[in-house]
Symmetry: D2
Subunit: 336 residues, 4 copies
């Protein structure tokens, strides 16, 4: 049973991860880190963990973490994550990184979108993008897995079947996404202050959200042709969930039946992608590791709609799915 540590344990993805791991028969949580003063019990920060986990938050060095844990889930922000992961790997840990630090292959693209030099640039391009539906084979032997972003997971799962088949023009893709507020993290700010974002839907970071190059890179890899997307994220007044609507131009005329069949074929054996006939809502997959996907054709254009829980399939559930693959457990362990 791997001993696991969670770095940056005060955030929402960490909380969700801990809850999933507490259900996992093959994981033992041995350390939770945070820079919080005074090493409070984790249940002081996350009252929902009262009576569930009797650990304190600690401010541990990578060496201290490595001395205690075999597998590390890093929920640190980008930049911070890549600053400690080399030492963890050197200390013998296997690492699942929630940040964007190892998702992009190219240090220049990283610098351009994240506004800082990559702290561990040499490793870029050698780390598996931990989306089992596309890269399952590369995950088990990995010591480091880049856990996908929430928006990218919703867009990639919807579009990859069509790009892999060369069925849509890779320069016509629009990704219009709607996310719940937990995606913005646990640090209070005006935009996520309740009376500001409640009862309001808004659009943000149009044309410059950092998930854009991630979606493009993975879909380019999947399809073999350069993909360009217009990505428009919206902040929706709900705790969790992402609904992504995509629009793209089929290379040749495509029927709705054909589009649905392509989805069904592609995901026939996947435990966590549900190809559904109806038009989904985010609540159907709330608190689950499922991504619901469907397709429509309107005026010759292909539309896909995909829904997932940004904290589960979009973060912590996906991480445990990767953990299961890395350690040879049943891929669905603790996730159903």
């Amino acid at each position: 049973m791997p001993r696991v540590a969670v770095l940056g344990a005060t955030g929402y993805t960490a909380l969700e991860l801990i809850k999933i791991l507490l259900r996992h028969p093959e994981a033992e949580i041995v350390a939770l880190t945070s820079r919080q003063e005074g090493q409070p019990p984790v249940s002081m920060v996350h009252p929902s963990l009262n009576g569930r986990l009797d650990l304190r938050l600690e401010d541990l060095s990578p060496a201290e973490v490595a001395a205690r844990a075999q597998c590390v889930f890093s929920c640190l922000p980008h930049g911070a994550s890549a600053s400690v992961i080399p030492a963890l790997l050197a200390g013998g840990c296997r690492v699942i990184d929630f940040s964007a630090d190892y998702r992009l292959n190219n240090a220049e693209v990283y610098a351009q979108w994240y506004g800082q030099k990559h702290p561990d640039a040499d490793r870029l391009g050698k780390v598996v993008y931990g989306l089992p539906e596309l890269f399952r084979d590369q995950i088990p032997p990995s010591s480091l897995v880049a856990n996908p972003g929430c928006y990218p997971t919703s867009a990639i799962l919807a579009l990859a079947p069509f790009l892999k088949a060369g069925a849509v023009d890779p320069r016509t893709i629009i990704v219009d996404s709607k996310s719940g507020v937990s995606g913005a993290g646990r640090t209070p700010k005006l935009t996520t202050h309740y009376p500001e974002c409640n009862e309001s839907i808004s659009v943000y970071n149009v044309g410059r959200h950092r998930h854009t190059p991630e979606i493009e890179q993975v879909l380019t890899t999947a399809g073999g042709k350069t993909v360009e997307v217009i990505f428009t994220p919206h902040l929706t007044p709900m705790d969790r969930g992402i609904l992504t609507t995509t629009y793209s131009q089929p290379i040749t005329e495509m029927s709705e039946e054909r589009a649905m069949q392509m989805l069904r074929d592609f995901y026939a054996d996947e435990p966590f992608v549900r190809v559904v006939d109806h038009l989904p809502g985010t609540k159907d997959s709330m608190n689950t590791n499922f991504c619901d996907v469907t397709a429509r054709v309107v005026r010759g254009r292909l539309l896909t709609i995909s829904c997932l829980d940004n904290l589960v399939k979009g973060a912590s559930g996906a991480a445990v799915q990767n953990f299961n693959l890395m350690y040879g457990f049943d891929e669905t362990q603790a996730l159903l």
Copy 2:
């Protein structure tokens, strides 16, 4: 001071209308109709009107309405509205119709999208579409005004400046809209049952929402070329508000500055369209008659974002704006 009647007074648009009219110094509400049993006081149905309006709901014939009122706001559903409006007009009333019955010019298109024969087809094509920003001159002399749909208002106000200028390709338009739940009306159903739609965003009527031909017709009229749109409505967990994101291909390269300037020029004298530099949210225009619009250019594509309150600028506020124009009152009367 015109004596006004409200038909179908139990719904949300009627309630909003009544609240606005109560602030209007030049309107006297003299009748509220409904098929409800027993002629209850309107405050039994709408408790927020307690102490505000001492009228009962009545089941009146068109002749009875015409005998009492000079101006009629019909909040009846489509089909029902066009069944009584001819008699109201014949009785000398001026009518502002909230339904879709007189918005489309073509009885066949109506039959195709609304699934029924139009009850008053001869009048189609002769009724002004009551969007002052495009058709202000035609409103004052009209005896019948077709009040625009909520989604169409948000899409048309955002796109008309570009289509009128011939600046975007009219066959590349995508309209991705997000609406609050009040747009679905006051009749309880499963999709709008609180535990179903709360904490969930969903998509519905993809490619077959009835507002599609309305958007296309008005934008075609505005631009002089046949417009085709892909329209995707989403149900958002909030009471009111619509945010519409559109995507279209400029005919020639367009800068963001140029796009914004076109909006500013087009709406320079409009009291209820605010061209804003920031990315808006629906809360900014909640409970107001404003539509906030902005534009962006991403990878050469034009994006517009527009926000309005579906019950005000998307329905009852627009209706009072039309009323003001019809009777020669200040256009902003009761609306600021």
Copy 3:
């Protein structure tokens, strides 16, 4: 592994129950009943069960259920439940009843509060009230368990320690409860129509909610003296969760420390009651089988605050807790 059936499988408690049972290693769901037409797959009614449970809803007689299942969870409404349970028991089933039918001991009290004659009055008074924290010993041998109401569970768990100890005056108790909307069930009605109850807190059934006699009866049993409560339920704009604030007069002066100690002592060995020092919110116990309880003393009056998820500890989680006790499984099985 007991074969289980769920009667009335279209509601929210049934959905929650199915989700819990799907995680239970010792339960096999063999039948789901409903009067719905056409025997749809359960995932048509509950899309969140897509890919999780491949059963159809069936309109089965008690005999058909008994032929297939060993344990029956009845999520039928009151009246309907007691009409089929005798046949199920006669057929050899063990039954956990979610309705109020077997919670009250007295057929006259039942008739008075539920407005109908009890269909199986002879059994009243012989059925265990399935609240393990008070009646654990009586549950394992039972063939029929009355699963407690959601509000009563929150009030009883908060007050029982003080009434059992004779520490508060049983005629001074006020129970002010706030519940999420799922407690009102899945049938659409105006009061739970999204635009009606969203962004609004309201009070209902003041002095005449049916959970009043249930709270009184169980607390009277617990404390041995006649308890009278004033019970005021409020409808809160959220999906799930109950927060109950109680006020009562201590018999002799009581310190806050003493009150907290009494709670801690009473629940020292309970897996699902968390005595917390802080003031809880419903989110802390959302989606869990926990009830969080704390106490305060203000101006000599005892206040308790308790929080639980009305669909879990207030219904389906409690039912599985009872199921675990009835079949000798670990009491927390599938519930952590």
Copy 4:
């Protein structure tokens, strides 16, 4: 037409106040103050004011404010407010103070509950408590009015009729209040961070909320006997609205009819208190200056339920009501 200034113009009460004043034919807004850097246009901070008010936020001294404005609405926090008000009064301004600084009559009680020495203690006890329903006559001649707190308004309006009549025991009063999140102000903090407070009701400041002495003092004044209340505030997941449920012991047996009649008699001539027969919800009075009140008798105890909008009747609407009284305008001006 009085020239008015708003101090502390970045908060929610200030925004609501500005919106009401913009509708007021007899008020001219001439200054908005804030310590924000750089004197931004107010619409930068409150985008809903775009196109409505073309003023900048300024960091003005009391003398500068007094040179410009005749009437000052202070939305500053307690302590800060009483630090500038003496200079404003000396400069000839009339002031309506939203803070708690002049609500209490006693500097020691103030110091005890607010944790600081009062900056202007000599004036305490000489300032009218601006609740027109109780102290209307004292408002017109006042140069300084203490605008009531939101919770106190809801509790006092519900209870004053009974205490003035000596009909309830003043030592048995419980006030259980539920408020929307805007009451917590516009400064982001964890407790009002969307994913923390959404979908959760919680209790806070039990037995030590600062509105307790305010409620007690005003009700004591009203009834002539020392009133003690147990006040329990709850944070409810909605933007605005307060529902207050009170429990108290009638001196002699009281019927529900008698209780309702006492309310109706007391408020017969009040423009903003609606005595309603039904059980109200906060949405009925949302965005209005009304307080809805009703009463019930349960097991001999008197219950009152009152609802208001904390930003309107609980703050800015009440302030304009006071403004109207101070300047001899129609009391309902801009408020219907």
